[in-house]
Amino acid sequence: MDIRKYARSSRSVRFKATLDGMTAHANELAVDVRGLRKQYGDVTAVDGIDLGIRRGEVFGLLGPNGAGKSTTVEILQGNRARDGGEVSVLGADPGRATRAWRSRVGIVWQDESAPAELTVRETVRHFARYYPKPRNPEEVLALVGLREKAGSRIKALSGGQRRRLDVALGVIGGPELLLLDEPTTGFDPAARRQFWELIRTLADEGTTILLTTHYLEEAEALADRLAVIANGRVVAEGEPAALRDRHGTEATVEWTEPDGTPRAERTGTPTRAVAELMRRFDGEIPGLRVSRPTLEDVYLRLTGQSDEAGQAGRITQEDER
C-alpha cells in the first residue's frame, strides 16, 4: 500500500523532530499507568494494566470488543473512577481533574452527539471559549476538512462529517494529549483513510495521541507503538513491526513455476530460499513474493482468537502488501 509506506516514512521523520524539540520533556511520559484495575460488579474489566506513552507519540490500544480499552481510556480522561493502580496523565491524576488539566487533554468520544440545531461553525466557536488558549476555529475547521460545511446545521451532516466535528471539538483547545476511543467505527474504507490522514496531521503537529481500535490495520497504519489488550491485561506491547517479528519469525516465499503452478514455502531463512530460486530461474522469478506473518496473525494468537477465520484474515492482509 502506497499510502501506508508514505505514512511510515513521514512518521519516523516527525517522531525524531518531536524528540529534538522536546529535550526538556524527553524523559517525561505523557501517560504513565501502573497496575490499573477496574471492576464492574463481579466482572474485572481492567486487570492490572501498565502503559507508558511518550510525549509526541501515537500510541495504539488494540484489542477485541470488551477487552477493557474503553474503560482504560475513560479512566485516563478523568471520567471514570478506578479501583486500583497508579495513573498519571500529563503529570496529574485524572481522578482529581482540574479545569487547567482538562484544558490540556482533548477527548474524541465514541458514538457522540453534538447539539443538532447549531451550525458547525457556531459549535466549534462556542467550544473554543471554554479554553484558555484555543486554536483558531477557522483553522481547525480547515484541518478536519469541514470548511465547506461550516454553515450547515449539525443534524444535516453525514456520519463521517460528524466524526470530523468530534475531532474538531477534541482539538479546539490545542491539547497536548488527544484521546480517541474507536474513532473510525462504522466508517467506509475511504472515510477511514481520510480520517487516518487527519490523525497523522495532528501527530505531525506534535500532539501526543492515544487511540483505541479493534481494527488491526488502523493500529498498524497510525501507531508508533501499540499495546494489545485482552481480558483486561496487556498481552503484548511494542512497535508494530517489532511485535510481528517477535511473535512470528517464519516468512512465506511464493513464486510461480514455469508451467504456471503457484508455489509457496514457509521458511525461517527466506533469503536462502530466494537465492536457491535465483539459481533455478534465469533472470526474473515469476510471481516472486516474500511475506512475513502479518500483525493480524500475531494479534489473533495473542488475544486467543486464532482459528480458521484468522487464516482468512491473513490472506486479505497479504493482498494489501
Binding site: E112, S113, P115, L118, Y130, A142, R153, E176, T201
Partner: protein, 281 residues
Amino acid sequence: MTTTAVRPPEEALTARLPGAWSLGLSRGALEIKQFFRMREQVVFTFAFPVVFLFLFASIFSDAVEGAGISASQLYVPAMTAAGIMSTSFQSLGVSIAVERDERVLRRLRGTPMPPASYFLGKIWLVFVTGLLETAILLLVGTTLYDVDLPTSAGRWFDLAWIFVLGLTACALLGIAISSVPRSGKSATSVVVLPFLVLQFISGVYIAVDTIPEWMLNIGALFPLKWMCQGLRGVFLPESARVLEQTGDWEFGRVALVLAAWCVGGLVLCLLTFRWKSRRDG
C-alpha cells in the same frame, strides 16, 4: 494544512481560564438559539398553558360567590404560575435528561467548562422563555378574561420577585428531577406526573377553596401553591382574599417558601446531579 508549533505545557498552565459567569452568558445565548430553532418545541411549549387557560377560563366562567370575581379571572394567575413552572421545571427536567442520555453532558464534562456555567446557561434560557410565556398568558388574560395588570409599583414589584423566585426554585427542581429518569425516553412521563399532580393540589385547575384541606397542605410543601397564591394577590381585587386558606395573600410567607426552595433546590442539585447516564456508569 496549517501547522502550529508544539506548545510547551507551562504556557498552557499560566494562561487564564475563562470565568464561569461569562461562560454562563455564552452558554445561555447558545441555549436560547438552540431552543428557538426547534420550531415545534417552541410552539408547543408556549401554546400548552395558553390552551389550558382558554379551556378552563371559558368552561368555568361563573361568578365566585362573595369574592367579587369570576372563575375565569381566577384561572389567569393560576395558569401564569403553571406556565412559569412548565417553562422551568418541566422543560429543564425533560431536556437535561435527554442531554444526559445523548451524552451531551458527558462531552461538556470533558472540557474545562465549569459546571456552574452550564447551570447558569439553563437559568438564562428559562428566564427568557418564562418571561415570554408569562407575557403571552397575561396578554390573553387581560384581553379575554377581564384581568387588569397591576396599577401600583408595589404590585409590579411583587410580580417581579414572585416570577424570579418561583422560576429559579422550579428550574432548580427541574435540574434535580432530570437525574431521576433512567433514559431520555422515559423523562417526559417521570417529569409530567408530579407536575400534573401539583397543578391539581396547588390551586391551578381547581380553586383552593374546593380542594380538601389535607391535599392543599401537601401542595403547600412545594413552590407552585405559593406562586399561584402570590400571583392571585397581584392580579385579583382585595375582595377575593376570602377565598384563601387563611383569608390573606400572605406575601411574606410566599417569599419565604420560594426562597427556601431556591436554597433547597440548589443543595438537591449539587447532591444529585449526574453528568453520565446510569448506562454509562
